[in-house]
């Protein structure tokens, strides 16, 4: 018995030693190669389906045609898997050269890896041309990423459904919206669809009430300090609570996804089963895939989040964000930065807007490619706004953003309180 134990111990020790030795090796997740001035850029993207997949691959191909020394290995990754995969890659020794970036606190959290390239010293001219949009993609002055599109959140509504309920024009104040909700309910129509299963669509409401209740200076300072201690954030929660009392959402909204399937919030609006939803400018492209026909595109309209009477914040401030790319520190430069600059060119941007329906272009020169009247309307709203607040769940560091989403989702489920949202943010910030 004792001898057997000894053998088992020897075998176990050998196994453990081999395991540790195996862990000491390094893996390979892609990366660049440079030989004779030729480089291959590995590009990880969450664009894994057409049309955006085809557009990105086409842009890489055309860039290679004009720059034969730069080749690409395009790696499409499913969106929900992307965040985990990029985290492992950035923590490893061989991250991709170019990779999809969400910006804000998500990017700031990634920057802790020390593997994100500061693009500013490489060529700041094209970045400067993006103006304040690019400035919001900085962490402590370092340009760790650039957006290729920009997003704005507002209400997408069905003009035909509004007309059926006797609503002549979209609301511009919160009391008007609440009156319209009453009219829609009276007409037997679900007023507002919301994808509460995913939590982030719920957070849009709290975000917008915060944007209306807080001054721009407070918004900026609070994001920087990772705090929601200013009383305006508590007021935002109170506003949301009052709004929820109007019961604007259809039954079973708590398990409704935002964008997946005909039963999603986008699907409900596309099908005319709900009158409107608060969503990003990308919503029509989501609806298009879910709607039985494209007819709904002529019925769809957009209006900004209504003003809140008595709220001190600027009512023209918008909530938004964008999608972009980063280069890793191991990427061959200036090849990587030059390609990101190419993605900002008017030619590439027009393709992204007209073919891939990414939303609003990062480069205003491509805005003519927007086809829907509502999109032009959003563009104008963006031109008149003094500030675009990035969605708080992305503006704050990742753990704070998810805590915010979860706390707002609790409130939607009738479990949370305005104070609980503020507390959740502060507690998550303390774990930073």
């Amino acid at each position: 018995m004792r001898r057997i134990r000894k053998y088992v111990a020897v075998t176990a020790a050998a196994a453990a030693a081999l395991t540790l030795a195996a862990c000491g090796g390094s893996g390979s997740s892609g990366g660049s190669s440079a030989a004779g001035g030729k480089v291959t850029l590995t590009w990880w993207s969450n664009a894994n389906a057409n049309p955006l997949l085809g557009v990105f691959q086409g842009l890489a191909k055309s860039y290679h045609a004009s720059h034969p020394n730069v080749s690409f290995t395009y790696v499409p990754i499913q969106n929900e898997q992307y965040d985990t995969k990029i985290q492992v890659a950035l923590q490893g020794s061989n991250p991709p050269d170019i990779f999809f970036q969400r910006g804000g606190g998500f990017m700031a959290t990634q920057a802790k890896s020390g593997k994100l390239e500061n693009l500013k010293p490489l060529d700041s001219k094209w970045i400067g041309e993006l103006g304040s949009l690019a400035a919001s993609w900085q962490v402590n002055g370092a340009q760790y990423g650039v957006p290729y599109d920009q997003h704005t959140v507002g209400f997408w509504y069905r003009k035909d459904v509004f007309a059926r309920a006797g609503i002549a024009s979209p609301p511009s104040t919160m009391p008007e919206l609440e009156a319209d909700i009453t009219k829609l309910k009276a007409a037997g129509i679900a007023p507002i669809a919301v994808g509460s299963k995913d939590q982030w669509p719920d957070a849009f409401y709290w975000d917008y009430f915060a944007v209306r209740e807080c001054s721009v200076a407070t918004l900026k300072a609070s994001v920087k300090a990772v705090s929601a201690s200013n009383p305006c954030f508590l007021k935002a929660g109170n506003d949301l609570k009052a709004f929820m009392a109007a019961k604007p959402f259809p039954s079973a909204f708590l398990n409704t996804p935002a964008q997946v399937g005909a039963g999603s919030s986008a699907g409900l609006v596309a099908d005319g089963k709900a009158a409107m939803e608060l969503q990003g400018d990308w919503d029509p492209s989501v609806m298009e895939a879910l709607a039985p026909s494209k007819k709904f595109l002529s019925d769809i309209g957009w209006f900004p989040f209504p003003s809140v009477p008595g709220a001190p914040g600027n009512s023209q401030v918008l909530l938004g964000g964008g999608d972009g790319n980063s280069c890793s520190t191991s990427a061959p430069e200036p090849a990587c930065a030059n390609f990101l600059a190419y993605l900002e060119s008017a030619t590439a941007q027009k393709m992204l807007v007209s073919t891939a329906n990414v939303g609003l272009p990062a480069n205003p020169a491509a805005s003519g490619a927007l086809t829907l009247p509502a999109e032009q309307q959003i563009l104008q709203a963006g031109q008149h706004t003094p500030y675009i607040q990035q969605y708080f769940d992305l503006a704050y560091p990742t753990n704070v953003g998810t805590a915010l989403d979860a706390a707002v989702a609790d409130m939607f489920a009738g479990k949370g309180t305005p104070q609980a949202i503020v507390t959740a943010i502060d507690q998550a910030a303390a774990r930073q």
Binding site: M1, R3, I4, Y7, V8, V10, T11, A12, A14, A15, A16, L18, T19, L20, A22, C23, D83, T84, Q87, L90, Q91, T109, Q110, A111, K112, S113, G114, S196, K197, D198, Q199, S251, A252, F253, L254, N255, T256, G263, P397, T398, N399, T402, A403, A406, A409, D410, F412, A413, G414, K415, G416, A428, R431, Q432
Partner: protein, 327 residues
């Protein structure tokens, strides 16, 4: 051990007759060969066990001591702070409670149904093998497929609602996945649909190991069918039942796939489990230190349960089988 071979060996070597022959034979085997056997037979399994079980557990326990977003080095040592936070978090406690509720409901509902169906299918029935396949089929389907399937069936106004209305139960239609007070029970119903087949097959195997002569003898003695089942079949089936309980409880503590796909643990954590809690903080919220602490706590709970269950409930079943080899 008193067969012809033992007798022959004893006669050939009378000096060794005091010792039983089998242990003597074992003692005579060369140690080198024994070592080689152990390395070849145990080595690969130990290697995998160390690499994919022991090492990750140790690493997770270590990560749990840090405040770590998954990026950069492990520099912010916080000791047992993460562990304390997890234990104090009402959402974690709620998740643990959900696991316990699922476990208790499994015992109270799934086990009797499994036994009843197994007893039924153990009889000679017309189409018995078809029924067995039909009962077992959901278990073969992956949890992801099951989740998507039931997500569609349970949609508001979906097939389940329509079926209930068609049979006059329209008044009982609920928001199966959106109502925080019933979502956990909906999850349990889907889990039951999927796992009942496993219990039935396991118990059927146990039933077929019971000699029919015992039942026949009981019948001759005048025992009714119920008495035979109660006094003969169920006691003889109890080792299988204890194994089922063990597997079911461990499964209840680890429920994840189905819940994650169907509800993401929501609404408002109403269907969260310890594993969805761990995944949420580890991978979704990028709090790898905190998520690791949750993982270690989940491991400890599962381990303690498994240990105690082995020690007190399964001991009588495994005493001969597992302990004799090393004695």
């Amino acid at each position: 051990m008193t067969g012809p071979q033992g007798a022959t060996a004893a006669q050939a070597r009378p000096a060794a007759a005091v010792a039983p022959p089998a242990p003597r034979t074992r003692r005579r085997r060369r140690p080198g060969r024994q070592l080689a056997e152990l390395v070849v037979l145990l080595g690969p399994a130990l290697l995998l066990f160390a690499g994919f079980v022991l090492l990750p557990i140790c690493i997770a326990a270590y990560y749990g001591l840090f405040n770590w977003s998954g990026y950069g080095s492990l520099s912010d040592f916080t000791g047992l702070h993460n562990y304390r936070l997890v234990i104090d978090d009402p959402v974690f406690r709620e998740s643990l409670l959900h696991n316990v509720i699922i476990g208790v409901l499994s015992l109270v509902i799934q086990l009797p149904i499994s036994i009843a169906v197994a007893l039924l299918l153990n009889r000679k029935l017309r189409g018995g093998s078809f029924l067995r396949t039909a009962v077992f089929a959901p278990y073969v389907v992956s949890q992801a497929t099951t989740a998507v399937l039931w997500l569609l069936l349970l949609e508001p106004g979906g097939s389940v609602d329509q079926l209930m209305k068609a049979v006059g139960l329209g008044g009982l239609v609920q928001q199966w996945l959106a109502n925080p007070t019933i979502v956990l029970y909906t999850m349990f119903a889907v889990l039951t649909w999927q796992f009942i087949g496993f219990g039935v097959i396991l118990l059927l195997a146990g039933l077929q190991g019971i000699p029919p002569e015992l039942r026949d003898a009981a019948g001759i003695d005048g025992a009714s069918a119920w008495q035979t089942t109660r006094r003969i079949v169920l006691p003889l089936l109890s080792p299988t039942i204890r194994i089922w309980i063990f597997l079911s409880m461990i499964g209840s503590l680890q429920v994840f796939d189905l819940v994650w796909i169907m509800t993401l643990g929501g609404p408002a954590d109403a269907s969260s489990t310890m594993v969805t809690y761990m995944i949420f903080f580890g991978f979704h919220s990028l709090e790898f230190g905190y998520g690791s602490a949750a993982a270690v706590i989940l491991f400890i709970i599962s381990f303690v349960f498994a240990f105690l269950y082995q020690r007190f409930a399964l001991r009588r079943d495994t005493a001969g089988a597992l302990t004799r080899a090393v004695r």
